[in-house]
């Protein structure tokens, strides 16, 4: 059954280095498409590294592989993905008069694919 999470897209150093190698390299595409989930949530959802998960909100939907986040980097209930095409697919066009769409702290649903 789908559960509600908060998604934080952000930068990582691997995203930065692979970006320079090229936006069409396997390294970059892997980095921006992998969803990080904390260990407790991985276990509860019965997920292992590399499993596909479906993530969606009222804007869009993506199916991406997941991996366990390092150490205690993420608290339960929070997801992380590197900025890129997949995070953008869940971002709405409305900026509430600010010019900036909600790009971090997005409400999403998640379930194993």
């Amino acid at each position: 059954m789908a559960e509600e999470f908060i998604l934080i897209p952000g930068r990582t150093s691997k995203q930065g280095t692979t970006l320079n190698e090229g936006k069409y390299t396997d390294g970059y595409l892997e980095e921006i498409s992998t969803l990080q989930i904390c260990e407790q949530d991985m276990q509860r959802l019965g997920l292992s590294d590399g499993d596909q998960v479906r993530m969606w909100n009222e804007i869009g939907e993506v199916t991406v592989p997941c991996k366990t986040s390092k150490g205690d980097e993420l608290p339960p209930g929070l997801l992380f993905i590197s900025y890129g095409m997949w995070s953008s697919a869940l971002m709405g066009g409305d900026t509430q008069g600010s010019g900036m769409p909600d790009s971090k702290g997005l409400d999403v649903f998640l379930e194993p694919a």
């Binding site: 150093s13 069409y24 993420l74």
Partner: protein, 444 residues
């Protein structure tokens, strides 16, 4: 002219470029020592992992100098088509500009002015909300040099310099010995406030884990505590941080001789946006009742700070400026690119060194793919792929000289490593501007 006719340094001669500048992130470190072999940088002394990947991956690629609808064309033909597209539009937008020189930014603004367009930069989807907050509550500012020499209390909020600006700690904010901090790191107290316990947390003395989307409440609680207002212990339910920890943080801030808050997109991209940043800026301002305190945004791209500066000194506003009425009008939400695209208003786009087709929302991308576009980029991108007219440009800092602004608004000169067969953004934009003026004057 075809690319084969342009000068290319084919020699394999070894060259050392000292004091070169890395333009990958807003730190713009200007102490690089580059070893250049022909058209390739083989060593980048002093560069961090991001800087190295920047320098090592910008060799010359075999792309056509200019294309129309994906087909290679002579440069002049592409300039002609670009001028026609921009002149025919009723709501043209210019966007990008954070990864190019300030000299090129200036020409892009001039073009936008001649055609009565809207100029916006990647700032609007990065620290644009901070720009609005500066206007709202002011900015208590300082240079990175002051942070290096004076800041004994450094608070990072909603940012991850360990991964985004790897040399920020060692060059400016944490490790260096400064005039008033002879023991470097030992003389500083470092705190991170963030929703994720990122790599930055490991370099800190204290880490406060904040619940997502409660930055505004936290900043106001800290302001209240600093002013002696009784804050409800329920603040822990909202922010995830117990009141006594917040009180302790405020005492540490007050005890500092020189404190600084460095904030990132954790504030500006999260619900609340400019209101979050305003609260943090106001906190820094309040702290000046007790000691010296400043707040600085951590800027991402190499010359995004230059984009703000150049747009501001040309038009009076930092981003999202419409020039259609012959005078500048600033209105985030109306003239910012996410909006002009998502609402389907823009009818042509000039995009310089950025990739909105990868980063923007679905409705914005959909509209951008339907309108004629002129795109300048050293590398192929999703945006370059859909361009009506695409120019391959030389990489700033590696191939072209010019000026960039460091994240603390200090201008830094670039020292290129080797020549590119491609033209610089400035040269391409100047050619487009010249053609636009010729056509406008001929029509008088």
């Amino acid at each position: 002219m075809s690319i084969a006719e342009l000068p290319v340094d084919k020699t394999d001669e070894l060259k050392i470029v000292k004091d070169a500048t890395c333009t990958f992130c807003g730190c713009v470190c200007d102490d690089m020592e580059l070893t250049v072999e022909g058209n390739k940088i083989t060593k980048a002394k002093n560069a961090c992992v991001l800087g190295k990947s920047w320098f090592f991956n910008h060799h010359i690629e075999d792309s056509p100098e200019a294309t129309i609808a994906g087909q290679p064309v002579p440069f002049e033909e592409a300039v002609e088509k670009a001028a026609d597209i921009l002149l025919a539009a009723t709501y043209p937008i210019t966007y990008g500009l954070s990864d190019t020189t300030s000299e090129a930014q200036r020409v892009a603004i001039a073009i936008t002015d001649w055609i009565g367009g809207t100029i916006d930069t990647t700032t609007s989807v990065c620290h644009g909300p901070s720009g609005m907050a500066f206007q709202g509550v002011g900015e208590v500012t300082c240079s990175l040099g002051e942070i290096k020499n004076r800041a004994d209390f450094v608070l990072f909020w909603g940012c991850n310099p360990a991964e985004g600006h790897p040399r920020h700690f060692t060059r400016y904010s944490l490790m260096p010995k400064g005039q008033f901090l002879p023991n470097g790191r030992k003389d500083r107290t470092a705190v991170l406030i963030d929703v994720r316990k990122t790599k930055t947390a490991r370099a800190m003395d204290y880490y406060l884990q904040l619940k997502p989307r409660s930055d505004f409440e936290l900043a106001w609680a800290l302001r209240g505590i600093a002013a002696g207002v009784e804050v409800d212990p329920d603040i822990e339910q909202i922010t995830g941080i117990p009141l006594d920890m917040l009180e302790d943080l405020v005492s540490k801030m007050k005890e500092a001789k020189f404190g600084v808050i460095m904030f990132g997109m954790g504030l500006t991209m999260t619900r609340g946006k400019h209101i979050n940043t305003e609260a943090v800026l106001a906190l820094a301002r309040d702290m000046n009742k007790y000691t010296r305190f400043a707040a600085k945004p951590l800027r991402g791209h190499g010359n995004v700070t230059g984009a703000d500066n150049i747009v501001a000194w040309s038009t009076g506003y930092p981003f999202g400026v419409n020039l259609n009425r012959g005078y500048p009008r600033f209105n985030p939400g109306e003239f910012t690119t996410s909006d002009t695209l998502a609402r389907g208003e823009a009818d042509a786009a000039l995009i310089i060194a950025s990739d909105p087709m990868s980063n923007f929302s679905n409705p914005a991308r959909e509209h951008l793919s339907k309108i004629p576009t002129v795109v300048l980029d050293p590398k192929l991108s999703e945006t370059a792929k859909i361009a009506t007219v695409a120019f391959t440009s030389a990489t700033y800092g590696i191939n072209t000289p010019g000026t960039v602004y460091r994240m603390d608004d200090v201008p830094i000169p670039l020292r290129p490593a080797f020549e590119s067969p491609y033209r610089s953004d400035q040269t391409i934009l100047t050619a487009i501007e010249t053609r636009i003026r010729e056509k406008q004057l001929a029509a008088l």
